[in-house]
């Protein structure tokens, strides 16, 4: 790693020779053409790793979902048995409903982070880096640390949140052990933790909008708010789309906060457990690998269907400049 100096030196030294060799042709051909064996060598580590640890396992999981696992790890073909159980399993229904609730609430993060990004993009705005750092902090923090801190804040007896609520005369519940409130408490932490990430994507999206549009709008007498709704929002729709897809996919995979903040002993677990939580429970706590694999396939299908649906819907509202 000898730094960029080695990179630029040969380029500066050779411009003339470069031209003479390509002289006859209209376009220089890609220099690393016909490099089949080299390409194989370059691709080998990543491709082998992906085949062994991700691609083949995906097919294995699909296969496992049609088997039942004995106590000693043997798979026995059981056809649609796991899927029949899946359809009749009330826990799965809960998990789907809970996952859907978390997904819908998590979408709150999209407009919130868009507003933060828009404010940070105002012309002449100061302290952008400081704000960006503060808003991004939850994204990088260890989930266990986040979960424990919020668990303390949400504590029904001596948590800060209920103390603040008591100041305005509200008697707060035991947020995380009350089945009626636990999922909302968890979703709020999820929103809190994802605003920073979305904000960064929105910031770069806004930065990509040509400033002439705003100048022209200003000449036409459009105010800040009109500019936001008529220029920023429409031109930001590709970013809004991307963030929405990511948010939904991430909330489909919600696990960490539920495992860490609620846990299996809580009376609220039935009202908060998600598909991935159930997958972990069945597969690794109860060692029912075949059934867990069926849940995995369900998760895969849900991800593909939702992503496809969003791509279909994007034609209605996403503008590509």
């Amino acid at each position: 790693m000898s730094g960029p100096s080695t990179a630029t030196a040969p380029a500066e030294a050779r411009p003339i020779r470069l031209r003479t060799t390509t002289g006859g042709r209209r376009r220089p051909r890609p220099p690393t053409r016909d490099s089949g064996w080299w390409a194989l060598l370059f691709l080998l580590p990543a491709a082998a790793g992906l085949v062994i640890f991700e691609i083949w396992p995906t097919f294995q999981t699909i296969y496992f979902s049609f088997t039942s696992w004995g106590a000693f790890g043997g798979h026995v073909w059981s056809g649609l048995e796991n899927y029949r159980t899946l359809i009749a399993d009330s826990d799965i229904v809960h998990a789907i409903v809970n996952t859907a609730i978390i997904s819908v609430i998590s979408l709150l993060a999209v407009p919130l982070s868009a507003i933060v990004a828009a404010l940070l993009s105002l012309p002449g705005m100061r302290g952008v880096t400081v704000y960006r750092t503060l808003y991004f902090l939850p994204v990088v923090t260890l989930p266990a640390a986040v979960a424990l801190t919020w668990k303390y804040l949400f504590n029904g007896d001596y948590g800060l949140i209920n103390w603040l609520l008591s100041k305005i005369g509200v008697n707060g519940p035991h947020w995380l052990s009350d089945p009626a409130t636990a999922i909302f408490a968890i979703s709020i932490v999820g929103v809190w933790g994802s605003i920073g990430y979305n904000m960064v994507i929105f910031l770069s999206g806004i930065r990509g909008i040509p400033t002439d549009y705003y100048e022209a709008a200003e000449l036409d007498g459009a105010g800040r708010l009109a500019q936001f709704f008529h220029i920023t929002v429409p031109l930001l729709t590709p970013s809004i789309f991307f963030v929405t897809v990511i948010t939904v996919i991430n909330s489909l995979q919600a696990f960490d906060l539920i495992y860490l903040m609620v846990g299996q002993q809580s009376p609220a677990i039935e009202r908060t457990e998600t598909l991935v939580y159930l997958f972990y429970q069945r597969g690794f706590a109860e060692h029912d690998g075949g059934y867990a694999a069926a849940i995995g396939v369900l998760l895969l299908l849900a991800t593909l269907i939702l992503t496809a649906a969003q791509f279909r819907l994007q034609r209605r509202w996403v503008h590509y400049g």
Binding site: P4, A7, A11, P15, L18, T21, P28, P31, T32, R33, S35, G36, W38, A39, F42, P45, A46, G49, L50, I52, F53, E54, T58, Q60, L119, M125, T129, L134, F136, L137, P138, T141, L142, A144, A145, L148, T149, W150, Y152, L153, Y158, L160, W192, G196, Y197, V200, I201, S204, P238, F242, L252, D256, Y259, L260, F279, G283, G296, L299, T303, T307
Partner: protein
């Protein structure tokens, strides 16, 4: 950058900040974002009595530094921090190196089946990682690697997303430099190692910081593959600490703070690279 470019246009003294309302909104938001961390910090220095008192204690009367030693005594906490560090470094080095190699091949080499292979890589990024989990666990079991450090990092060294990100970075680099080097007699390895790799350094750092953060914070895989506390990373270790110290929040907060500090430092130091990596994956995803 932006501020220095605007400075010569308007020579105005900036005693009053522009956009007071925007600042007000952003500050209120910032309190929500940072509040829990300040609360964590304050609680980590409180006595147990203070932490469960109503009204809550905002500033500890006499800082209880012993909470930190309690954390290290309650768990193999130091060992877990080392495990996390090893896991993170191995995953990061692996992902950055292998992604750079494959990304370069996709961006700059011509070979048969490139389009198909790239489509395969891209479709892997769509699969939720829980779908791999059971077979990955079995691989580790068959290799006899359960409850080892190797199990923590081995599958995490390969990434379709990383390959995609590196390909995007390599595609941006000017082709003329590569051509000149080739005419100069450099072979592909030299072009890659001595010329393209140093030029792609910002991309590699961006990917590296992303991997560091994901790896440091990863919970589900360690939970599945390592049940021995001495081989756990701190992400899973803190969860088990929670079981032992159900309501001793000062100790839990001290542990939380210590465990998240290294990754927060990485974030603050490499902020610019991290942001560009996220923006890159977002805008051109």
């Amino acid at each position: 950058m932006a501020e220095s470019m605007q400075a010569p246009v308007r020579h105005r003294r900036r005693f009053r900040p522009k956009h007071p309302i925007a600042h007000l909104v952003l500050c209120v938001g910032a309190v929500f974002m940072v509040g829990p961390f300040l609360w964590q910090l304050s609680t980590s220095l409180q006595s147990f009595g203070e932490s469960v008192s109503v009204p809550p204690t905002f500033l500890p009367h006499s800082p209880q530094w012993s909470n930190v030693t309690t954390v290290f005594g309650a768990l193999p906490f130091g060992r877990e921090l080392v495990n996390t560090t090893v896991m993170t470094i191995a995953r990061t080095v692996g992902q950055v190196l292998f992604s750079a190699l494959a990304g370069f091949a996709f961006a700059r080499m011509q070979f048969r089946g490139r389009g198909v292979l790239f489509a395969v890589f891209l479709s892997v990024t769509m699969v939720p990682y829980q779908v791999f989990l059971l077979p990955q666990y079995q691989i580790m079991q068959k290799l006899g690697l359960l409850n080892t450090l190797v199990a923590l990092f081995l599958p995490g060294m390969f990434s379709a997303f990383g390959t995609f990100l590196m390909r995007q970075f390599f595609r941006q680099l000017p082709i003329e430099i590569e051509e000149a080097a080739r005419i100069d007699g450099a072979n592909i390895l030299q072009i890659f190692w001595r010329i393209m790799l140093p030029m792609a350094a910002p991309g590699m750092i961006a990917l590296g910081v992303l991997v560091i953060i994901w790896s440091w914070n990863d919970l589900l895989w360690p939970l599945v593959v390592n049940s021995d506390p001495r081989q756990m990373p701190v992400s899973a270790g803190l969860a088990s600490l929670q079981g032992q110290y159900t309501t001793n929040f000062p100790v839990l907060m001290a542990g939380s703070l210590l465990a998240s500090l290294p990754v927060i430092i990485v974030f603050v130091v490499f902020q610019r690279h991290l942001m560009s990596g996220i923006a890159f994956s977002g805008v051109k995803g």
